[in-house]
Amino acid sequence: MGSKRTDRRGFLKGGAALAGGLTLGAVEPAAGQTPASGASGASGAMIKGSKELIAYGDRSRFVTSVRIAHGGRPSPDAFGLVFHVAAPLQDSVGVITPSSLHYTATTRGSYLPDIDPREHRLMIHGMVDRPLIFTLEDLKRLPSVTRLHFIECAGNRSSPNGKTVQETHGLTSCAEWTGVLLSTLLKEAGVKAGATWFVAEGAEEVKGASSMPIAKAMDDCLVCYGMNGEPVRPQQGFPLRLMVPGFEGIFATKFLRRIKLVDRYYLNYNDYGHLDQDPKVAALDYQIGPKSVITFPSGGQQLPGRGFYEISGLAWSGGGAIRRVEVSTDGGRRWNNAEIKGTPQRMAHTRFGYQWNWDGQETELLSRCTDELGQVQPSRAQVAQFWNVPLDPSFRVPGLDNSIQPWRIARDGSVHNGHA
């Protein structure tokens, strides 16, 4: 085990050095990168099969994309506590975030509970005709549903300090989730008249709990045991996570152990952060608005020169499916329809592309999306105008920030945060 760790570290170091070399090489005109010399690999090196690699595959050592601690707070900290960790959206392709790279967040920092799934139980009680306890095996007997859904943290807020899309937007990810509709379980227990809210609670050390409207439970909440074709990962709530599609990520209760139906708002643990003075702001802290971001080219990346590029990005909304994505390559003067890749799913990341010929001049790239409800992603200026406040760098978008992210392309091909 010890020697295996050393090997891994050796791999990572070598990979980082090689990746750096490749980046530098890519800036140069493509000497030595003809298809003939690139295809077979310069060294002819091979990777021998091993028991470990047969049992559980690894990615190439040349692929070094990793998550990073978010917001200047170390994860893990000196005590091994983990706070917010951002996904490397700049390297993403398609719409599924690999489970190992899916963002994670905990409000006060935490360890992971080491839960034996055979011991884990889910209780449904409160204002029901028949309180019920389910084992994992019980839940897997029931009709299952598989859906793509994003999760996004309320802290996913672009700031001028964010240099890369991982720093500005990395607190969102999208996975294929499998489980039982919460409505199936609630009908099995029998919902009593007068039940208007439910409390979902986890099994971790703080028993994190959130209150949600019962209408959401009956609409599309999923009690998930599966994620991206395997059991939900511990960092995502193994063995059970409640998916609350389109709501802020904190509602997606990990290590789900209890659902209680109640007749009023309960204000337990995680709900405290949603208290607000203004009902408008409180409303904007529930369902996530239409949002998109260009992942290539994005902050910190380097264009090797003028010419053709497919601009690529992600769009999503808590209001349903993405209907339209537009891209501007001239700082927002003209907007053009982007191509949506595949069929947009409700409350899921949607990949878009736009064909662009860069003329080598400084410019700004932007994207904005429209969802099935007709909600449109705004600029910061539009949001400030709605609230009738001056637009200055300190303006904070009320509720979850879904404003447009500009990326500035400099003449040397370097890409920068347009808010900086």
């Binding site: 009908k187 227990a189 405290y272 992603q377 709605f386």
Partner: protein, 191 residues
């Protein structure tokens, strides 16, 4: 159990023909078991605004002040509720300032005293969560409410008096949206 489920599945189409209302309150799959009264009591730590779930017990701010030191609260939150590494527990400003402007401090900003109890009970102390006895949680709740001038030092908190504590925030907080499927997050907000 299995035979019962099979039987129910067989009659399901006929019942559906007769009308959905007849099915609404009967289990469809018969999966899962009934929790015991003891399981329900032990698991149900969600304390709502009415305090219906509060266990028996009692405590005062004086007892809470001792526990605040004994249980190590002061190490992280400071000897007087301020000055530690963890979030402050006492409003720095004059209590005459509107509750909303006195900081994000649970014993001031929460509209329900039950939320303070619920929070301490499930999430404190750090690393020993869930280890406090009901009397200790009542006493620590009383201590935090006392240092923020919400209750007098000698007030006894128990499952009857705690839900009746009048919190400084009053009803000066936004009610939550009446969420419905396929609706905009805020009517009149285009974004």
């Amino acid at each position: 159990m299995g035979a019962c489920t099979m039987g129910m599945l067989r009659i399901l189409p006929f019942v559906l023909l007769l009308g959905v209302s007849a099915m609404a309150q009967s289990p469809t799959y018969g999966v899962g078991r009934t929790p015991s009264a003891e399981e329900l009591r032990a698991w149900d730590i969600s304390i709502g605004p009415t305090g219906a779930e509060l266990p028996p017990g009692r405590g005062t701010a004086k007892e809470g002040a001792q526990l605040y030191v004994q249980k190590g609260c002061a190490v992280c939150h400071g000897a007087t509720g301020t000055g530690g590494a963890a979030p402050i527990l006492k409003g720095k400003a004059d209590p005459k300032i509107a509750a909303w402007d006195r900081g994000r401090i649970l014993p001031i900003r929460s509209p329900f005293a039950t939320t303070v109890w619920d929070y301490i009970n499930r999430a404190m102390p750090l690393g020993k969560e869930g280890s406090l006895a009901p009397n200790e949680v009542y006493a620590l709740t009383a201590f935090l409410l006392y240092i923020n001038e919400v209750i007098p030092e000698d007030q006894v908190l128990d499952n009857q008096s705690l839900p009746k504590v009048k919190m400084p925030i009053g009803d000066a907080y936004a009610s939550l949206p009446d969420w419905k499927p396929k609706t905009r997050r805020l009517q009149g907000y285009p974004y």
